[in-house]
Symmetry: D2
Subunit: 337 residues, 4 copies
Amino acid sequence: MIIVLKREATKADADDIQAKIKALGLKPLYMPGTERTVLGAIGDERILGTLHLEGHPMIERITPILTSYKLVNREVHQADSIVHIDSIPVGGKRLAVIAGPCAVENREQMEKTARAVKNAGAHCLRGGAFKPRTSPYSFQGLGNKGLEILGKVATQFGLPAVTEVVEVADIDHVEKHAAAFQVGARNMQNFRLLTELGHRTKPVILKRGMAATVDDLLMAAEYIVSEGNPNVILCERGIRTFETATRNTLDLNAVPYLKQHTHLPVIVDPSHGTGIREYVLPMAKAAIACGADGLLVEVHHDPVSALSDGQQSLTPDDFVVFMKETARIAEAVGRKL
Amino acid sequence: MIIVLKREATKADADDIQAKIKALGLKPLYMPGTERTVLGAIGDERILGTLHLEGHPMIERITPILTSYKLVNREVHQADSIVHIDSIPVGGKRLAVIAGPCAVENREQMEKTARAVKNAGAHCLRGGAFKPRTSPYSFQGLGNKGLEILGKVATQFGLPAVTEVVEVADIDHVEKHAAAFQVGARNMQNFRLLTELGHRTKPVILKRGMAATVDDLLMAAEYIVSEGNPNVILCERGIRTFETATRNTLDLNAVPYLKQHTHLPVIVDPSHGTGIREYVLPMAKAAIACGADGLLVEVHHDPVSALSDGQQSLTPDDFVVFMKETARIAEAVGRKL
Amino acid sequence: MIIVLKREATKADADDIQAKIKALGLKPLYMPGTERTVLGAIGDERILGTLHLEGHPMIERITPILTSYKLVNREVHQADSIVHIDSIPVGGKRLAVIAGPCAVENREQMEKTARAVKNAGAHCLRGGAFKPRTSPYSFQGLGNKGLEILGKVATQFGLPAVTEVVEVADIDHVEKHAAAFQVGARNMQNFRLLTELGHRTKPVILKRGMAATVDDLLMAAEYIVSEGNPNVILCERGIRTFETATRNTLDLNAVPYLKQHTHLPVIVDPSHGTGIREYVLPMAKAAIACGADGLLVEVHHDPVSALSDGQQSLTPDDFVVFMKETARIAEAVGRKL
Amino acid sequence: MIIVLKREATKADADDIQAKIKALGLKPLYMPGTERTVLGAIGDERILGTLHLEGHPMIERITPILTSYKLVNREVHQADSIVHIDSIPVGGKRLAVIAGPCAVENREQMEKTARAVKNAGAHCLRGGAFKPRTSPYSFQGLGNKGLEILGKVATQFGLPAVTEVVEVADIDHVEKHAAAFQVGARNMQNFRLLTELGHRTKPVILKRGMAATVDDLLMAAEYIVSEGNPNVILCERGIRTFETATRNTLDLNAVPYLKQHTHLPVIVDPSHGTGIREYVLPMAKAAIACGADGLLVEVHHDPVSALSDGQQSLTPDDFVVFMKETARIAEAVGRKL
């Protein structure tokens, strides 16, 4: 931790802060400069955090040296973690494709879509039962009934199910019907939800929040892992910027950044990342090219009739092309779909 | 609703979409142009939403004419709503100041701070018991014990208590100890929480999310009001932008925008909006100058020892000046503190 | 300058970098930690910049201790600078209001508008002759003819003229007709233009770029001042964010930040900062409340006929109210309009 | 153009606006609704722009139906444009790689780097002589002397030279030494520069501004093309967002968007797009995977000694790997490097 003192800070101020650092069993450093004095504190930065120096009137700025995420950090765990959704490995040489509709609408829709994605080669089936929607007047999902349909259709087609959980009270029910929990962008910092998912064993697909930095995402993952569940899959799905030509700005820079800083697998959702059907395939290819471990993609047997996200859902025919073309990129980077 | 068709759309496509609009009992409009055909649909846009035209392959763009928030819209309710936190009115000529520490730390801290803010003229006491923190290694709040301390100290000093609620399961407990619920920025789109608060009667201070537009904020308020609780107070607290000199970018444009578009009261939190003690007062004055109905401000009897947000907390002495100077601005805009 | 080495850096790497620091006549510091070694370099950071350590393979991160702007920094020049536009002081107790149309359209428009703003109490007259427009098919300004009209009308009404300069080649001509140069948001980092304006003596109103941090703005001002022209007035006019309800997001946090970090005067443009006529007055009041030294505001004798920015221009009647109400806020903060 | 009237607008207001539309020879449309009246105007939207309806007090919102860029629009020119930098085609099946240092430093540096990129298979040589730098105390480039070095070295190695032009007065000189003009992000809306480049014939690589939407970029290109120079190459190089882990946020969504909306070639600059050497290759691969027509990449024979951008420059060895790995992706999308 680097502590820059204010210009007006005296030697006595510096001594006082150094004494506090020492009192915690850490090593203080003193660097008087011509215009500012800089202090250092060496040791576990989590202990340093308990000093709460931010409020000190003589401190101008505090810069941590180390990241605050310890368990998800690649430094302490150099090898790639492979997280299994049921029998499907995510994070190794083989890429995982999780496909399905935005929302579970009815049994027939799920069966038709599941058949299509299964035949084209998808590894898992997605479908939302609880839909967080900006407007209270939009379709909110079928709730528990939707979960049951998803669970049954997933079993029927031999595809592990992935679905969003939005509330601690629903976790048990979701766990019963799905092979993996999905935490949506709006809940990335719902820390109570993260903490409770940390007590489970099924994997968690953690989507990046619209205003979350990649480090915020890693800290959110740290909540789950530090509670005991190491099975976290990170998902880049676009951030909110001034650009409105696409629904979100898919930040693919995040992929090499995350792969460098964490051992957790990283997947990409080009459907929400673009919001426009025609751009889903090119951005899926880009995601694989820069190192993503898998894709989360919306497919609907009939997008025109979809109750949500129709404009970004692939048709079954689109999805056949999608699997073929992304496979070629996978091969070009030495991986397999 | 304005529907711009793709260049390649035929007359038959237009007819087909017009038929769908008619089938819902709405009035379709047809505007053939030289390069594009534009369709209109007149009627309740909530019904129009059930058409799910977004996924239609021949539609280029859909623009709503009306806003999706109906109940919080000033058009249907022209007079300012006044929401009471206990006996304190928010939204009228008199401005409300809600002050106190970021987090409840212990009984002594709360008493000292409550005494200071009460003496300086604050109207309500704030203090967090459940603290959403980016890192799992930061202080997470005292939980229910914190709620009890807050409730007791608030009663002792005759100040209605305001505190954050982060989870449906906590609502009953918070309701018992506080006069108003606060929904934090990270939970602005926790729709389950909003829905459940819509079933209560105590007021809800709804803080704008870091990536939320002002219309998103109004839609979130609509969730609460449409479930039956009209007592919503909106709070601007800064958004996330590329600017890092301050903790957030306080978007005061939101104040006149919200006052024009909704009848709900609007308050401002200059503490989170800036993150820096020295800027809290100037931005509080700016907030009142542009029409805010109140202020939410962090005060700590000893910021250097604060367990969170020390760098943005006012001291008791600062707060005396704060009340005096903001009162002068209030007077200059024809209001009272 | 704080230099954090990579985890894999050796003692030899640290020695090598320290030797480079010493070779420049600066003082190196060595702080070995448990997980990272941190180096310090004490002395003039402009000299340190010539080391170009950013590309070093063993360096993880470099954090400057001091700001890069030296001349505009309040540390070296504690008193407020007062910059005169002709006889109008900007930066002292008295606030300056610069008003007029977005673009000079013709003599009659300028005379009508100048009379209106003069009568209401404005101090300077604005009007653009060279209009940077997003589309090549929009009105681009009258050019030199516009400058002449502006100059004549300004003289006629005894109001110093302020106008935008977009190109080095135009500087002489602008200088002839105007009392102050305005550098628009799109040219804030047109360093050739800044450098050349640094060789003149008339004041420069430097508007913040849409993607510029406040520190970027200060660095741009440093270009002008370091070339010899100390007469720079900074102008906050809104930044680009995800919020689209207003034309820009007026970042009033910038006002107290800039007043703290620089001695230069700071004015605010609530017209571009909001883009909507109804919000111009509330945001002007907010700007003064948080410490702005003046206002730049668009007024048109007939906004409905304006060739640009009609939607954000005040009418003469609006402007009378504007001057009256902002004066009341000025008084409440101990200043005068 | 769709014109939404304010709630309080009367039939007379609507008639008045329709009469104005008719007077321009365009076709007005009238759509009375239950809560708002909507008007349409059909015809050339550039003519519609001369109406300046934005300032009308009874108009709530105006939405264009068509884009404002006409010449660069793919609708009027369906086939891909191929722009030649000397003999190198950009925009066809073959991808173009433009490589070289950020800044021209001296003859030896340019020769060493040129030899390295030539041997690895680059098609053009880049190198900046005029460097726009945030700080006046940073290295500003060698100016005309740099241009001469670049020109000579480019000829020596048979690589067409690409270099930035920052000012109208420099165009002739740059034209003499380089095969293509580069317009940097900070000058994307320097309309005087764009207009003058429109009078030349050599190609212009137009980089997206840090706060520019993709439509702003297309409008900037329209400036050049509408003045007579059709040889424009668009370049995505990252935008400014709240994310600070990388220098910019590379918006690869822009690639499929631009390829769909314009016939101009689109290249990507992964060096500025990430700012970190290790991410340059993965993002270059992503760029090609989603459809980019070429790459602009910084290579330095010795990045540790680079006078600017050392941290994002590839070494000659890195660049050999870069060419090999990007070629594999090119092949996977049916193209060639």
